[in-house]
């Protein structure tokens, strides 16, 4: 499973949204109905799945699905 697919799978599960809603430019808070605690939980799930650590400072910059995918790819040393 690609990083994109895995990220979307996590989002669908955590935020209880449909795959169709998960377009790259979708904002977690504005488009997918997440609140700040949802976001913390979502990032925790990603940390766990991808074996990475995301600081609170970096968390602030992740607003959309594309942000998350790019960030994880960068962190894993892949081109984003």
């Amino acid at each position: 499973m690609s990083i994109e697919e895995k990220v979307i799978e996590i989002i669908v599960e955590q935020l209880d949204v449909t795959r169709e809603e998960c377009v790259p430019e979708a904002s977690f808070i504005e488009d997918l109905g997440a609140d700040s605690l949802d976001l913390v939980e979502l990032i925790m799930a990603m940390e766990e799945n991808f074996g990475i650590e995301i600081s609170d400072e970096e968390l602030q910059k992740i607003r959309t699905i594309q942000d998350a995918i790019s960030y994880i790819k960068k962190k894993k040393g892949l081109a984003g």
Binding site: L15, L37, E41, M44, E48, E53
Partner: protein
């Protein structure tokens, strides 16, 4: 003009039923809800039995996403509240939202979440703790989540008075309606403490029955061979309404909640004193505060935990309050069937007292084979007893020396303007 408070809606989940009707049918049939613990492996514990909910489907009441973030006690509260609000047919919107409040008691709060997240902390470190830990643990989040769901913006609170929490909540809600601070209250109690920590903690106090090989017979209030209480889970929530407001919207009225008595033993952290004078005063205050003639009380839903001390001292207290009349009234402990719901008990048992009045039935105390010395009232052993019940009390006592008694009576229209 005096404001009267009536019950217009009720909801419960508990070890004998997932609705009021199911529960009442089971109680009147003398059916036990106690069994071997299935929620976790109880093998290392002295007590391996409890009253768990059966076939309860939380998704009837909360979304899947929400469910992950709520402790079970909050889910039970949302279920009870949903049934009670629906049953009352009350609509909470712009016209009354600020006049509708929420008080839900819990003895312990989110114990399952504390245990789960503490294990995460120990195993994986502080960064892995769910951000929903604290809002799932706080006892007042049952009331908080209910108020959010229904937009009820009136008074809100959460008494944490151990096994009296549900009755404390209903009593406080009653006083707020009487005082004019609210026209309706969503009030009751819930608990979800059947966890390794909950069972082990009460085991350490030697408070729980260890009749593991015969679960249905384990909760034996007033019986010679009782050996402690059996823990149950769930709770009960009622809709309390000011009479004029209830009548204005044409609500069905179950019964009147007319008195509340609350006292402290100031004696011991867990044990009641001989004669239980705090219970005597709370029963007396509940009746005196509304001018209720003790002779009108036909039924008492006893605290009746099946601990060695409670049952004898509660009996003494009832005799002290009612004198000769204690020989004729019916006193039963439905904990013989449901187990002890701790903070949920006052909510569930308030519903039982109301149903006893509306249906004219005193539910039984089961497993009462040989009444203990000093336990010589009519505990309605084994079989429900049809009888006219003008008024009923619900007794609840909690650790910390809390005594909370609710007095209900048949609803009667006392003429114009009443």
């Amino acid at each position: 003009m005096e404001r009267r408070v009536v019950i217009t809606g009720m909801g419960t989940v508990n070890p004998v039923g997932n609705t009021v009707d199911e529960t009442w049918a089971a109680l009147c049939a003398g059916r036990s809800g106690i069994g071997t613990i299935t929620k976790f492996d109880a093998a290392p514990l002295a007590t391996k039995i409890a009253g768990e909910l059966k076939n309860f489907d939380p998704l009837l009441y909360v979304e899947k996403k929400e469910l992950r973030r709520l402790d079970a006690f909050i889910v039970y509260a949302l279920a009870c509240a949903e049934m009670a609000v629906k049953d009352a047919g009350i609509v909470i919107d712009g016209h009354n939202a600020e006049r509708v409040g929420t008080i839900i008691g819990s003895g312990i709060g989110g114990l399952q979440t504390i245990e789960k997240e503490h294990a995460v902390l120990e195993r994986s470190g502080p960064r892995r703790l769910s951000p929903f830990t604290i809002p799932a643990v706080l006892p007042n989040l049952a009331a908080g989540q209910i108020s959010i769901r229904y937009g009820a913006r009136g008074p809100i609170s959460c008494p944490v008075t151990a096994c009296a929490a549900g009755a404390s909540a209903i009593g406080m809600a009653f006083l707020l309606v009487k005082d004019g601070q609210a026209d309706a209250m969503i009030a009751g109690g819930v608990e979800a403490a059947i966890t390794p920590f909950g069972i082990a903690g009460f085991n350490a106090m030697r408070a729980l029955s260890t009749r593991n090989d015969d679960p249905e017979k384990a909760s034996r209030p007033f019986d010679r061979d009782r050996d402690g209480f059996v823990m149950g889970e769930g709770g009960g929530i009622l809709i309390l309404e000011e009479l004029a407001a209830a009548r204005k919207r044409g609500a069905r009225i179950y019964a009147e909640l007319c008195g509340f008595g609350c006292t402290a033993d100031a004696y011991h952290m867990a044990a009641p004193p001989p004669g239980h004078e705090g219970a005597v005063r709370s029963m007396a205050i509940a009746m005196k505060s509304c001018g209720m003639d003790p002779a009108a009380v036909g039924y008492i839903n006893a605290h009746g935990t099946a601990t060695p001390l409670n049952d004898v001292y509660e009996t003494q207290a009832i005799k002290q309050v009612f004198g000769e009349h204690s020989r004729t009234l019916a006193v039963s402990s439905t904990k013989s069937m449901t187990g002890h719901l701790l903070g949920g008990a006052g909510g569930l048992e308030a519903i039982v007292a109301v149903k006893a009045i509306t249906d004219g039935i005193a539910p039984p105390t089961i497993n009462l084979d040989n009444p203990d010395e000093g336990c010589d009232l009519d505990y309605v052993p084994g079989r429900a007893k049809p009888m006219t019940i003008e008024a009923a009390l619900s007794n609840t006592f909690g650790f910390g020396g809390v005594n909370a008694v609710l007095a209900f009576r048949t609803y009667r229209d006392r003429g114009k303007g009443a």
